[in-house]
Point group: C2
DNA sequence: CTTGCTTACGAGACTCGTAATAATT
DNA sequence: AATTATTACGAGTCTCGTAAGCAAG
């Protein structure tokens, strides 16, 4: 048994049982992968993959039991390397942050600026994607952190930490009838066409829940994944905009008016997710710390430690 | 990096930083181990061991961080093998149970008899030792299960399951003054010399606590690790015996009288311990199930699953 | 001067890539 | 017919054992 064999098995499964694809992804030859897999199977005394003739068609029962152990071992391989790097060159390395548009556009810029100054030798890479995509990136080890408001809690493989809370803002054109109202109700908003986020983004689901709880349903005429698109169409008069309040800048967005909503809309929590069982390098913890004002390195370490005991 | 290197590192640490010993234990050459360790260190970019000249004198900081990851990976290597064996030959294999005298002598015989009939191809091996020793055996992977009444809860690496509860019995010679008393008190017992278990065995610590709580202290004139020794000396009139009640057999022990103690002495829980993170083969679960009347395979699996999520 | 780690070197095993083969879709 | 896994074979690498060297207690 060797680590390479485990990598091969994982990659074949990730590539949907296409051994050829896996070989390509791992920059090696197809026969090499085939052979190593068979050798591992022989050593363990079982078949990992179901084969119909010469095609891999699925995982066997034992194969399914093997998989989580293999994944954990490969994570641990990375962990060993990270421990090494963390001590060999404490503030040198790579940090991949997967995040959604709203975070990248409005919340992260100041954090990133400060972080880059503090850690000039960390190659910081931001990767934008949908909540599902960024969660998968972290689970597969392609990103170190995921930052998003929704749906990071649905994965057993992830450990999420609350970073900060925020709520939405209602924006309209200055000449919109709602602009004159002193106090809004949910029904006021629901009376107009709405422009807001796509279902899985930026707390959208919680908005829907709030209105549904009040017996109302929204007439959403345009959904977007980023706030700038929403603002653009609100300016065009397409409807009332619901955006993350951080996305509204009174100076820049002079053609829009933000309405008072005190407590009307739900509070959202933006969370940072890491892969359970991964070793976090010191500069990774520092990023979380910088991003989440309520968390300090000590608190993060304890949450990880409690979790990591298994 | 390869698995062998990790084994070498672990073994060196287990052998108290004696690389020569580690090489011997692993049936390989000293230079080979030395070389592989240096190569691992080079690949990770750190020193794992502190060296004074040519002697290994300790672990470095990064070395200490590496260790738990290495241990976990090596456990996972075994786990992979076990999954294989479990499917290749479900009821064939080896099961090592580490336990204390009282369990081995009184509680296990019927379980073992039934188990051997049910699983004739499982090589069952019982290893007797002190609670500390058997706990270490399981932690080091030398035994699959530990069965004992005390001190299995003090190890983070172990997961313990309650198997059954029991209490102690007071035994005396038939002509002892206490033999005529209808109802005993703690003070009655404390008035006489006592023969019982060594401090870490068979619930001894809880006996002491009980008497201490009542403001009494025991005059222990002989401590033993096994009940047979205790009974022998009680027969010789050395003192009042306190033994596990299962160790008293009215038919065999005709020269002793068991006194009524209803509720006087504390209740003990015998526990089964397994190494956290290890895959338990089906026949291992079956043994636990056979030993612990209150646990069934499903219950055990859930406890392990909850624990194993990490 | 004994114990114990490291360096040197050579034999043997193993991994991996190319080419050819066989089986599915 | 095209795609995909397995078998065959050979080059190159790597591991490991023996022997020699060297540092520490």
């Amino acid at each position: 048994m060797n680590i390479q064999q485990l990598r091969y098995v994982r990659e074949i499964i990730r590539r949907e049982l296409n051994l050829t694809e896996a070989a390509r992804a791992l920059h090696t030859s197809q026969p090499g992968v085939s052979r190593q897999v068979r050798e591992l199977e022989a050593e363990l005394g079982i078949e990992i993959f179901e084969r119909h003739g010469r095609r891999l068609t699925g995982l066997t029962g034992p194969g399914r039991e093997l998989l989580p152990i293999i994944e954990r071992m490969l994570i641990d391989v990375d962990n060993l390397k990270r421990v090494g790097q963390d001590h060999a060159a404490r503030e040198v390395g790579q940090l991949v942050v997967a995040t959604t548009h709203t975070q990248a556009r409005y919340m992260l810029p100041p954090v990133v600026a400060a972080y880059r100054k503090r850690y000039p030798d960390v190659r910081l890479s931001l990767q934008q994607g949908s909540p599902t995509e960024i969660a998968m990136k972290v689970i597969r080890g392609e990103a170190d952190l995921a930052i998003a408001t929704e749906s990071l809690d649905h994965y057993d493989e992830l450990l999420t930490l609350p970073a900060y809370t925020w709520s939405h803002a209602i924006v309209v054109t200055p000449d919109h009838p709602l602009a004159r109202r002193r106090r809004l109700t949910l029904a006021d908003i629901a009376a107009w066409p709405v422009v807001t986020y796509s279902p899985e983004f930026a707390g959208r689901s919680r908005i829907d829940q709030r209105f549904a709880a009040a017996g109302l349903s929204l007439d959403v005429v345009l959904t977007a994944i980023d706030s700038d698109v929403i603002k653009t169409y609100v300016e065009l008069g397409l409807g009332v905009g619901i955006i993350a309040s951080v996305a509204f800048d009174p100076k820049r967005d002079r053609s829009l008016k933000r309405l008072r909503t005190d407590g009307l809309l739900p509070v959202n929590t933006t969370r940072v997710a890491v892969r359970r069982g991964t070793y976090l390098r010191e500069f990774t913890l520092a990023f979380i710390e910088a991003f989440a004002p309520d968390l300090d390195a000590a608190a993060i370490r304890t949450m990880l430690a409690v979790d990591g005991t298994r």
